[in-house]
Amino acid sequence: MDAQAVENRFAEALADPARPVPAGLTSARGEADRLRFAVYRNNVHVSLVEALAKTFPVTRRVVGEGFFRAMARAYVADHKPDSPVLSRYGESLADFVAGFPPAAGLAYLPDLTRLEYAWLQAYHAAEAPPLGARDLGNLAPDALLERRLVPHPATRLVESAFAIGSIWSAHQEDNVTRMSIGHPESVLLTRPHAELHATVLPTVDTPFVQRLLDGASIGEAGTHALQCDGAFDLARALTGLLALGAFQRLPAHSEENPT
């Protein structure tokens, strides 16, 4: 049998516990051995479930260890990582959770899972100097409104019809108190330097942040936010975002010639 055929059979048997030990495998006593092959099968499943458990600690805590492991096992069975970089494994877990019948009663869970995945991507994102209020201080008001900002590589916005930011924060503590979760929250993740921040945005600011991150100018984003809610305050919102380090400071020559 050629090497590729051997590997194919091995891989198929790893994926399906119902399959027998693949042909061509043996032991010192001259027989194939189910329990020996099960070590490989177990290593694959346990290590991938463990990788998900590390990436989604709050999801795990919310549903409980047993539930999480059962759900993760079901996910792992059909979704192997597409690269050995496990910090990028689990991007589609949120969609899987949304269609996982036993989790149907937890409507907020997919968004919470999405937030945790975004958190890990923000954690591993490239370094870049954050744009501060001072960097925009020299711009005339018109120029400021025309200005488009470049998101910092770590910045992520996760929106939900549920209070996922509050749930996430509450589960960073040892004791979780009861809370209302039925209102929408948008969570902005920023990591201007070493430390990652998760901020629940004021509802009135969310349309502004969405548009800015999508590449709209400050003026365009502000106009849109005002149309959504007349109480929007552009100066306050922009100052807050810059303080969080949501945007990237570009090299000096490009600061002088914004496009």
């Binding site: 090497a3 690269s83 070493a194």
Partner: protein
């Protein structure tokens, strides 16, 4: 290929995120730190900040687990590029990988899976090792595996297979003494005989770890390469037998699961350091 970088002939430890702070504040006497390359393939963030700070003070060994060098398919260009970025960023004193496969048709299994030892797979592994060394511009070390089953198709002895890879590609070997013990238990082999026959001149690093144990269907001992406990006495004895042949070699204690506090890891490293110090210069190579 540039001059082979080398690790100091002393005890090293696997670097774990839970110990970053303590290492930087106490600067323990450790010969080197080793990391799994795949854990540092993000673009930035705290992992790189810590690793950069620690690499300023200690030699660094990059240990890959995801190249799938023993696989029948091609080496992933993307993964090789990620590894090259890491090598360029840190200029490690050593780069090592496994004689195993882990990726099949783009699905990554996160385990080190075995391959049959045949002339055909030998050609394929040698081509992969050569490709990696060419792409990275450094000599790599290839590690002997721990296995739970054997292939009926295998026609080449594992040591001959490893020696042939080294001869044909110029790569060094990483001798995992725990893997030797695990495979010896699992396949009724004599671990001392394995060490006696191993091409010790090619060994650039030794690995030690703890194994777990269960039984197979016939009730025979089945050792599992778990990396979840201290180095077992039989493995440590085999290590002392090994270094009497190799002379002082960089030796890593691997403890990747149920990671203990740093003091416990340091005690393991100290035990290794004492064994290395015990080798008198005149005893360096008795092979």
């Amino acid at each position: 290929m540039s001059t082979a970088p080398t690790l100091p002939a002393s005890a090293g430890l696997g670097l774990k995120p839970e110990h970053y702070g303590e290492i930087l504040s106490s600067m323990p006497a450790i010969g080197f730190f080793e990391v799994h390359a795949e854990n540092y393939m993000g673009d930035g963030g705290p992992p790189h900040r810590y690793l950069s700070a620690i690499a300023e003070h200690y030699p660094l060994s990059l240990h890959g687990v995801g190249l799938s060098i023993g696989g029948s398919g091609p080496i992933s260009r993307d993964h090789l590029a990620r590894l090259r970025r890491l090598v360029e960023r840190y200029r490690p004193a050593s780069l090592s990988e496994h004689l195993a496969w882990s990726t099949h048709e783009s699905a990554y299994f996160n385990d080190l899976l075995p391959l049959p030892y045949t002339p055909g797979t030998l050609d394929c592994v040698c081509a992969h090792v050569a490709e990696v060394q060419d792409a990275l511009g450094i000599r790599m070390l290839l590690e002997n595996p721990s296995t739970y089953l054997l292939f009926e198709d295998s026609t080449i002895d594992e040591i001959d297979y490893l020696a042939a890879i080294s001869d044909r590609t110029g790569c060094g070997l990483l001798l995992d003494v725990n893997n030797v013990m695990v495979s010896a238990i699992n396949h009724r082999l004599d671990p001392h005989d394995y060490i006696r026959r191993f091409p010790v001149g090619k060994v650039g690093e030794i690995h030690l770890a703890g194994y777990d144990e269960t039984h197979d269907e016939a009730g025979e001992r089945l050792a599992i390469d778990a990396h979840a406990s201290a180095v077992r006495p039989d493995v440590f004895d085999l290590y002392q037998f090994t270094i009497a042949r190799t002379g002082p070699v960089a030796t890593l204690v691997e403890w990747d699961n149920d990671v203990p506090d740093f003091a416990t890891l340091k005690a393991e490293a100290d035990r290794v350091e004492a064994a290395l110090a015990h080798l008198r210069p005149g005893q360096r190579r008795v092979a």
